[in-house]
Symmetry: C2
Subunit: 304 residues, 2 copies
């Protein structure tokens, strides 16, 4: 049965009434699997894959889905998904659970191939200094990288940057671990560290390095609850005993969990900040550290 969008060159129908694709060994399945598995992305490949309901919903809401693959069960359950994808000019393919499982062990019956632009730093800086940015150096674990993107989103950051040497933030596992937050803010990957920090600094952001041996204690820099103005009229964050003003436009810099930040990164930072450890843990992972630092900034900036 034909649809307003007509037929694709490959002959597959774009409507919800199309036949259910049932061959897990087909070339189309292999193509999707390869897209998910690829280690290095071509620089001009703007496709990303959203696996599972949560990531797919956010991709659909962002209007970037080129191809939505889902089981008839999911199509019945969330009718809006297919409609939204077709409205935005995308294609919808019904497929068996076996096909979805063959495409991705994480699909849970629904998966989307999206076209998502890489974000250029110039683009982001065009509107003046961003209030809150997270920059990651040498972040290797895709699960932690995705959680860190989620933390940046929750704290209201507008940009997450993964410098050269990090995991590809556009990889399927990062997107999945971000619980869809990947589609909520600008995420840049493969950017040189020095250029990034110099540009953000020139734009008016302070660069704070999260470091286990940092000079400032994050908790001593946090603003108080309630009344946000001190007796002398200063803002509570600028009155911090340690000279750190978290209410200013801020770039947080996070390093590798085992090795910390490089000397180069530390040299480019305006100040270093430590998260105090009260128990016997050696450190926090990068997602937890990002959550605490970015929320401290959000609180100081009065993002609410």
């Amino acid at each position: 049965m034909s649809t307003p969008l007509g037929r694709r060159p490959d002959g597959l129908d774009a409507g919800v009434n199309e036949e259910v694709f049932a061959n897990p060994r087909s070339d189309r399945v292999k193509t999707v699997r390869n897209l998910i598995a690829r280690a290095g992305r071509m620089a001009d490949d703007r496709r990303v894959v959203a696996e599972g309901p949560q990531a797919v919903r956010e991709a659909v809401a962002a209007g970037c889905v080129g191809d939505l693959w889902l089981t008839p069960e999911w199509d019945d359950r969330e009718v809006g998904l297919a409609f939204a994808v077709r409205d935005a000019g995308g294609y919808v393919h019904l497929a068996t659970r076996a096909v979805l499982d063959a495409m991705s062990a994480a699909a849970q019956g629904v998966l989307a191939i999206c076209t998502w632009p890489d974000v250029g730093l110039a683009q982001v800086l065009a509107d003046g200094p961003p209030d809150l940015v997270a920059v990651f150096e040498d972040a290797r674990d895709p699960g932690n990288a995705g959680s860190a993107i989620r933390a940046a989103d929750a704290a209201g950051a507008s940009l997450a940057i993964f410098t050269v040497g990090c995991v590809d933030p556009r990889s399927a596992k990062v997107i999945r671990s971000s619980a869809g937050s990947f589609f909520h803010l600008a995420v840049a990957g493969g950017v040189p560290l020095d250029e990034t920090l110099v540009a953000l600094s020139a734009a008016g952001c302070q660069i704070l390095a999260a470091d286990g041996a940092g000079r400032h204690d994050l908790l001593e820099s946090a603003p108080p609850f309630g009344d946000m103005t001190h007796d002398d009229g200063s803002s509570p964050s600028s009155a911090g005993g340690l000279g750190l003003d978290l209410s200013k436009p801020t770039v947080w810099l996070f390093g590798n969990e085992a090795r910390g930040l490089s000397e180069e990164a530390m040299a480019l930072a305006d100040a270093s900040v430590r998260i105090p450890i009260f128990g016997r843990a050696e450190s926090l992972n990068v997602a937890m550290a990002a959550t605490l630092c970015l929320y401290a900034s959000a609180q100081a900036q009065g993002n609410r």
Copy 2:
């Protein structure tokens, strides 16, 4: 070559000079693999497995290693490990990397079988109300559970409790994800929710439910930096506009990421607290939520 500890009944030598165990298909390898893979633990089985250098180091420091398996390379690199294990009455086995890999994909060349007691609530409460406790309901993801234990450790909590229906906190993946923090504080699993909360409440702890729709805003309850006393002499946390005193002995209650806390759990809590979301993320994962809540308490309690 014999050692002060002599020989085990199975004939394996306990010294560092023993032969290098090289058969990845042996029964001993299978035994370890089964120990790691088991879904349900027997209630009286006190063995836990630490995989990889970080978890093993902490297990060795905790003096609970019964059997240390490591490659000659690791034995050369961290001589102290084998000494410490033998000093504490444990056995050391050199093995090839292939053997270690066959035991666990996460061993990275070093693995420990530990004897670690289950913690009873009565035991923990014997010394009066603990200052800071994390209780998890319906926590299913072992990676997040491990990270949450790490957060509890970092924030100085003395106890992490996983109620009935949660992932087994003694499973190898939870221990690994805790980065060794499992061995730093009391971790209890399979405990009934109601009994736990009633006992902690009776001991003098306030029960705070972390909930997306909570009545109190976590950040508005956080104490200020710097001067910890207000003009009227009150402590800053008790002066919180929202009536929440984070400096008191506190039990934080965390629910399932998708479903939140049960009605039963909410009913047992003294107050509900939300983490504000500034961006477009729907929520934080349980490890990130635990990090923010437990650190807010640590800060208010002046754990430093």
